[in-house]
């Protein structure tokens, strides 16, 4: 599971959960791969993702690339910043771990890189 996927997932499917977002990540095994950088894609996807969620996920994984608390307009034009976003969104894969509902604490396992979101 990459962090771009994590950004889309909620535990809203559980009974009694109002928002269920963002899910906390308990990483057990994380792999780092290289993915081609596509500036256009990163600039567009930045408009669609929840930045705070991504920042939280980076902290959950303990990655060396840290993200600033606030993302300004100028930052979104900065090549260095875009490359960092690219790396954290696409180049880290949680192979084994858990996703945790922020409201109920219910855990969803991640095995072989695939989160299991069944009830």
């Amino acid at each position: 599971m990459k962090l771009i996927t994590h950004n889309m997932l909620t535990s809203n499917i559980l009974k009694g959960v109002t928002k269920g977002y963002p899910l906390k990540i308990h990483p057990i095994k994380v792999e780092n791969t290289t993915v081609d950088f596509n500036r256009d894609f990163i600039r567009r996807i930045l408009q669609r993702i929840e930045y705070d969620t991504l920042r939280g996920a980076v902290i959950d994984l303990g990655l060396k690339e840290t993200l600033p608390a606030v993302m300004s307009e100028t930052m979104q034009q900065d090549e260095g910043f875009l490359i960092r976003i690219h790396k954290v969104l696409l180049e880290y894969e949680v192979k084994e771990g858990e996703l945790v509902c922020p409201e109920t604490g219910r855990k969803f396992p991640i095995c072989q890189g695939i989160p299991n979101m069944l009830l």
Binding site: I4, L9, I13, D40, I45, N116
Partner: protein, 320 residues
């Protein structure tokens, strides 16, 4: 939810577990990796989405082996499927494909997220009208309200080369290999409180095509017997009575006259389908759309034996 609702809900769940999920999990990589047919109109739909919005977000709900998820590099697509086996196969086939295991009635995605959603050959596996409505509602919920589009494909009752005896059918899977490791438990005895005469039941023998008629019912009973044992994937599965099975009006799929291959009649690999009549998909969508503001059908058509529809979600109607 009332007690009766709870009971009914779990029954449909059992039927789908036996005749959809377990079968897909058993089919294995041979059949599933061979399923590479990309419907041209689905490709065309995705091409159009990509041209309208670069790097559009797409969700393939019930993505199978991931063929549509990986189809276009100018889209960001994520797949989900109910079967963990299928998801693993998709991952083996396409490394690091974004894929999750999820139930299409409870999609773990944020609201209003996707520019396009695909539901190709999925909702016809759901056993009740209510579940089919819910599946469509979930797809609409996750659509972007600025013109996001959902494409649905379901099997049509109206076919050129075959006749379905009813709308709810069990379709056998044509693959000897997939069934070769399934050995029915010959010692199993029916101890469940079914009202049928026990003498008329016999354990289904493997590879004996002449014995299909003692019935679907016998094999289904046998199957449920196996299911309620603790070693199965659904430990607390309730038992279905004979009356309940009849209520689903399941009929065996009539052998096609143009089919020369020995159709594998192992009842363990029959899949449940509710085939759609002309106009039924539109009615279903209209009912689902009541709960999701701004949804309307923009196109419906027939394609390769499927009834198809494109549903658009627009909160700002004037922008159309």
């Amino acid at each position: 939810m009332t007690n009766i609702d709870e009971k009914n809900k779990s029954k449909t769940g059992v039927l789908e577990q036996v005749y959809v999920h377990d079968v897909y999990n058993r089919l294995g990589s041979t059949i599933l990796t061979q399923d590479t047919i990309v419907w041209p109109k689905v490709r065309k739909f995705l091409n159009r989405i990509a041209s309208q919005r670069q790097h559009a977000l797409v969700a393939d709900v019930g993505c199978g082996n991931g063929k549509y998820v990986k189809l276009k590099s100018d889209l960001f697509a994520i797949g989900c499927d109910r079967s963990d086996q299928i998801c693993e196969i998709a991952r083996e086939k396409y490394t690091q494909i974004p894929i999750i295991i999820a139930d299409n009635l409870y999609l773990p995605y944020r609201d209003n997220l996707f520019d396009a959603v695909l539901s190709i050959g999925v909702i016809h596996h759901l056993t009740t009208h209510k579940r089919r409505v819910q599946a469509i509602q979930e797809c609409l919920r996750i659509l972007n309200p600025n013109g996001g589009q959902l494409l649905i494909y379901t099997w049509a009752m109206e076919q050129k080369h075959r006749i379905f005896s009813s709308q709810d059918v069990l379709i056998p899977c044509i693959n000897q290999q997939a069934c070769s490791d399934i050995i029915p438990d010959k010692n199993s005895r029916l101890t469940s409180p079914y009202s049928m005469d026990e003498n008329s039941m016999s354990p289904v023998e493997h590879g004996s095509p002449g014995r299909t008629t003692p019935s679907i019912l016998a094999s289904v009973q046998n199957l449920f017997q196996r299911i309620v044992r603790p070693s199965t994937s659904t430990p607390s599965t309730p038992k279905l009575s004979h009356q309940d099975l009849s209520a689903f009006r399941i009929r065996p799929f009539p052998m096609s006259s143009c089919c020369n291959e020995p159709v594998n009649t192992n009842p363990y690999n029959k899949r449940f389908y509710h085939v759609f009549k002309y106009g039924e998909l539109e009615m279903l969508i209209e009912e689902a759309a009541k709960a999701i503001v701004g949804s309307r059908i923009v196109k419906s058509y027939y394609d390769h034996g499927n009834w198809c529809a494109i549903v658009q979600k627009d909160l700002n109607i004037n922008s159309v």
